[in-house]
């Protein structure tokens, strides 16, 4: 467009300032506090100390970091296995119901985050629905099966919470896929399986990559799931961070853990961008 862009520059201002004051500067502050030491009353004394990072990578806390990546990774993989066929079925065979079906699949996501986790407490608890059903099936008198406080309860909770973040991008990729390519593959006597592996799957890979990022990252930072469905043995980094910002915690250590979390995020994002540019090159070639 022509002249008179000044007004658009003015429009940039409020949002930019907001993000600067309440997102960028605070993140810088987290980094500064992570390098500080605490004095006797628990206030940060700024400096350039790496103590907090050393203790984060100490044998006591390192398992928590590994466990977090493991749970988030397992949840992402399971979500992928559940979400891809679902998105594929809706995109390919949904017909006129496509949009209604995809809304149906993402609808549970709009149910309150805590209520969704709580639902699993109701189902899996010692006095919960599942144990009630087992009891009714004739396992009377036997002690309740412990489903909660186990790794699979936490991973299952993450799967349930972040499922839509995979379905949506995969569905979008499959929906935009040029069906003429598939028809061409069929015309050239490729079997359905070959068409899927050589045409459909590669062409939907940008959606899969976006889905992996969108499910893995929030799973990494989750803490209510492990808090409510798990126990001390299933603590994730998020729980550790939340503890540091409670009354008894150390905010400099909590900040260091947050920076570690953001670093993992950065690695994932860079990996995503790198594979994205590789994919783009492969398409051009």
């Amino acid at each position: 467009m022509r002249s008179g862009r000044a007004i658009f520059r003015v429009l940039l201002l409020p949002g930019t300032l907001w993000l600067a004051v309440l997102f960028v500067i605070p993140l810088g502050l987290v980094a500064a506090v992570s390098l500080a030491r605490t004095n006797i009353v628990g206030l940060p004394v700024y400096g350039l100390h790496l103590d907090n990072y050393k203790s984060a990578f100490q044998s006591y806390y390192l398992p928590v970091i590994f466990r977090t990546v493991e749970y988030a990774g397992a949840a992402t993989a399971i979500i992928g296995v559940l979400a891809y066929p679902t998105a594929y079925t809706i995109a390919r065979f949904g017909g006129r119901l496509k949009n209604a079906l995809i809304v149906l699949v993402i609808l549970p996501w709009f149910v309150d985050y805590l209520v969704r986790i709580y639902a699993w407490v109701v189902i899996l608890g010692d006095n919960g629905t599942l144990n009630g059903i087992l009891h009714g099936l004739g396992l009377r008198g036997s002690p309740p099966v412990q489903f909660l406080n186990r790794p699979w309860a936490v991973i299952g909770g993450l799967v349930y919470t972040y499922f839509p973040f995979m379905v949506l991008p995969v569905y979008a990729a499959l929906e935009q896929l040029d069906h003429q390519l598939i028809e061409a593959g069929r015309d050239l006597y490729a079997s359905g399986r070959r068409v899927f592996w050589h045409i459909t799957l590669p062409l939907s890979s940008p959606g899969i990559a976006a889905g992996i990022v969108l499910t893995f990252l929030p799973s990494l930072g989750d803490f209510a799931t492990a808090q409510l469905l798990g126990g001390p043995d299933t603590y994730m980094v998020g729980n550790l961070i939340a503890d540091q910002f409670s009354d008894v915690g150390d905010i400099t250590f909590g900040s260091a853990l947050t920076i570690v979390l953001m670093s993992v995020l950065l690695v994932v994002i860079l990996g995503y961008l790198w594979t994205g540019s590789r994919r783009a090159r492969a398409v051009r070639a």
Partner: protein, 287 residues
């Protein structure tokens, strides 16, 4: 949409060639849908349970809803959360729309940096942005309250509105706006009379989305809410930690009805603009 008949034809041909495959996929999808809805159904069912039990349904009763009706603490928390949702929606709706217009039309190089910041905000784990907000408030000596919750929630909410409104803006042809300018409308008149009406469904939909999300936001709210009345999610969290009571089922069922109907309204607004022109629901959500 113009490809739809071809794709349906393709599906039909496939179905004829191998009848088994879609059936298996359809069954799988049906199972996934059951898995997604079963927990919510359990919560709603047991909210009407006559007994205290979460294992056995002892008969229909509305006693837990009656208990809710008389729970003053819950009412206060509900009002606090409604205030958070409304204020966040107003701030994010206005600042996010303005930012979307600025990013798309200002032609500034610096806008790329702002855009990168918006994206970084969107992909950051919520716990990280919540910790950052908490630190800036405590270091500036600001007492945690409903206001800090609104400030912190509006930060991610602005990013959501910006992305959604911007994707709509990008799909609009600038020719309409140029026509208005050719007819001697000022830049501001063009925005007000041409651009904003075209963007209205996207602004409304993203604002509703942000209302729902900030109303039941837990992580950010948990970190930056003070000692006053806990917003509803924070109260639910402490109720669950204290022990599961069927009253939470009733809250959950009511919140489900409220948020899902608002979400459906927002999605209907997306659908509305899809049928007019432009790409579909999901492509828009992905930005």
């Amino acid at each position: 949409m113009d490809r739809l008949p071809a794709s349906q034809g393709g599906a039909g041909v496939r179905r004829a060639r191998r009848p088994g495959r879609p059936r298996l996929l359809v069954a799988f999808t049906a199972l996934v849908v059951c898995y997604l809805f079963a927990p919510i159904a359990v919560v709603v069912l047991f909210s009407f349970n006559k007994e205290d039990s979460l294992a056995v349904f002892g008969g229909f009763s509305t006693r837990w809803y009656v208990a809710l009706l008389h729970d003053g603490g819950i009412h206060a928390s509900l009002i606090a959360s409604l205030e958070i949702g409304a204020a966040t929606m107003m701030i994010a709706g206005i600042a996010g729309t303005a930012l979307a217009l600025g990013l798309e039309r200002s032609g500034l190089r610096a806008a790329r940096v702002v855009e990168g910041t918006v994206m970084l905000n969107l992909v950051s784990p919520e716990i990280a942005t919540a910790v950052a907000a908490l630190l800036i408030f405590t270091q500036l000596g600001i007492t945690l309250s409903l206001a800090t919750v609104i400030l912190a929630n509006a930060t991610w909410a602005i990013a959501y509105v910006t992305i959604i409104v911007r994707s709509r803006l990008a799909s609009l042809s600038s020719q309409v706006e140029e026509a208005a300018l050719d007819l001697y409308a000022s830049q501001w008149q063009t925005i007000r009379l041409v651009t904003l009406p075209l963007l209205w469904p996207a602004i409304l939909a993203s604002s509703l989305l942000v209302f729902v999300m900030s109303f039941d936001d837990f992580i950010t709210t948990y970190f930056v809410s003070g000692l006053g009345v806990p917003p509803l999610p924070v109260r639910i969290y402490s109720m669950i930690r204290f022990g599961v009571t069927p009253e939470i089922n009733a809250i959950g069922a009511l919140m489900t009805v409220a948020t899902v109907s608002l979400a459906l309204t927002a999605l209907a607004l997306f659908a509305l603009r899809r049928t007019r022109s432009g790409p579909g629901v999901v492509t828009d959500l992905n930005g």
